[in-house]
């Protein structure tokens, strides 16, 4: 344990130095370049502001987080169902998978205003945008995992007269769980981006507003410090989402990786 801690700290300090250098460069550029406070504030000023408006920030972060988590949950469930259908029906896959790819290629910034236009602004539209952005990695990864079961294992199930349902539940899905988790990791980060982009366009509602709405709004009011604080919170939110999904994935995958870890220790 102490060894791991020591390793963690020895890996940590170059990161801290890099951060310090970055902040110093930022401050120096501002000081010597004469950049105005309403464009770019000093780093410590951002932290100060963040503490001052913490209530408002927390509320905005909470709203954005909820939209991101809802969108992510939807894309995980719906994406998983779609992937299972794709893996079972070849024609469906051939017919629809290209469109899933196209859906991925269309920039969300282009779709978001359309959604706002047809659905109106508000939480629902933001969730929908987060959902669309984060859907594809789930479909792609899970479909691949489901349809790449080794032939020997499939044969084993066939020879034991396994039903199609048994083959899906006891072979294909467990085999594809690691791929699903990979997809979910990518998807979690994308859901945060989707929520924030969504809020740019559809973020204002009676329920309050999220981080994505706050950033341009504060820039318009020449409150760069507040906008930067909101950006900082958005970053932290993305990291938090990614880490909690990674952690959950790690727990979920213990059956797949446990053996590796143990034999690695010996």
């Amino acid at each position: 344990m102490t060894k791991r801690l020591a390793l963690a700290t020895s890996n940590l300090w170059p990161m801290l130095v890099a951060l310090f250098v970055l902040l110093a460069a930022w401050s120096a550029a501002k000081y010597f370049g004469g950049i105005r406070d309403y464009f770019v504030p000093y780093p410590w000023k951002v932290i100060e502001t963040a503490i001052r408006i913490r209530g408002e920030l927390a509320e905005a972060t909470w709203l954005t987080a909820r939209a991101a988590v809802c969108g992510f949950a939807m894309s995980t469930v719906i994406g998983a169902v779609i992937a299972i259908l794709f893996s079972q029906f070849r024609l469906l896959r051939l017919g629809c998978f290209p469109y899933a790819v196209i859906l991925q290629t269309v920039p969300i910034v282009a779709i978001a205003p359309l959604i706002t236009y047809t659905r109106g602004p508000g939480f629902g539209s933001v969730v929908l945008i987060a959902f669309i952005v984060s859907l594809f990695p789930i479909i792609a990864n899970f479909t691949a995992g489901l349809s790449r079961v080794p032939a020997g294992l499939l044969e084993l199930f066939q020879l034991n007269n396994a039903s199609r349902w048994q083959t899906i539940c006891k072979l294909q899905i467990p085999h594809a769980i690691p791929d699903l988790v990979t997809g979910m990791r990518t998807s979690a980060g994308l859901a945060v981006i989707g929520a924030i982009v969504g809020e740019f366009f559809a973020g204002n509602s009676s329920q309050g507003h999220g981080l994505g709405f706050m950033v341009p709004q504060r820039m318009d009011r020449l409150r760069a410090d507040e906008a930067f604080a909101a950006v900082g919170m958005a970053t932290l939110l993305g990291i938090a989402m990614f880490m909690s999904v990674s952690w959950m994935g790690g727990t979920l995958l213990s059956r797949w990786t446990q053996a590796d870890r143990r034999s690695g220790g010996i």
Partner: protein
């Protein structure tokens, strides 16, 4: 017991349906068949005992009784009780093969089909597992069909060795093996054993031409 079981040399030739087999008491409708492949084909996310119980589970039997049967099978193939909770990747190739054997015998099959099961194992392990197979066979009284390219393995195990030709697979010659069971490893060094090896090897060489 008449065991005029004739199989083609590979399960890929379509012997997944047992109606082609005739056993002692005339044609049987659906004898229970179990398979052992060249790869152990274990599910990596399942523990040893969960892998062994799989055929029972797929047949709709997944209670405590099935797990008891699985543990019994585990002991039958020479694994220890504390191996039950291990994952396949923690095991050596030989142990994985034993798990695969246990998974086959857990259903108490009437026919066992072996498709070059030990081809990837070293010689020492291979001959040890050969002895284990004979022991299982004596215990469980199934009919075994064992496909192998290893001549002495074939002779050591079998009552009858059928040499097949290469493409198309036809019966080249049938050798009856006269040695009594139980057979022990020392059989392999007797002159009578080696004589049969030579005869079969000669037959195989002839087939090459």
């Amino acid at each position: 017991m008449r065991k005029d079981v004739l199989l083609a040399n590979d399960r890929r030739l379509g012997i997944t349906d047992a109606r082609q087999l005739r056993l002692s008491d005339g044609p049987m409708d659906r004898p229970k068949i179990a398979y052992v492949f060249q790869d152990s084909t274990l599910l990596p996310w399942r523990t040893v005992v969960e892998n062994i119980v799989l055929p029972l589970e797929l047949a709709g039997k997944s209670g405590r009784q099935s797990y008891q049967a699985a543990e019994e099978a585990l002991r039958l193939v020479g694994l220890r009780d504390d191996d039950a909770a291990k994952f396949p990747r923690m095991l050596s190739g030989g142990m994985r093969m034993r798990v695969s054997l246990a998974r086959a015998v857990v259903t108490h099959p009437q026919v066992m089909l072996f498709d070059e099961p030990f081809a990837a194992l070293d010689d020492l392990l291979r001959s040890r597992l050969n002895e284990e197979i004979l022991r299982l066979w004596k215990d469980q009284q199934w009919t075994g069909v064992f496909v192998t390219h290893h001549v002495s393995e074939a002779i050591f195990l079998s009552k009858r060795v059928i040499v097949l030709t290469d493409r198309p697979a036809r019966i080249a010659e049938v050798f009856d093996i006269p040695f009594e069971y139980p057979r022990s490893a020392s059989l392999r060094t007797t002159p009578a054993f080696n004589q049969i090896v030579e005869k079969i090897v000669a037959q195989l060489r002839g087939g090459e031409r």
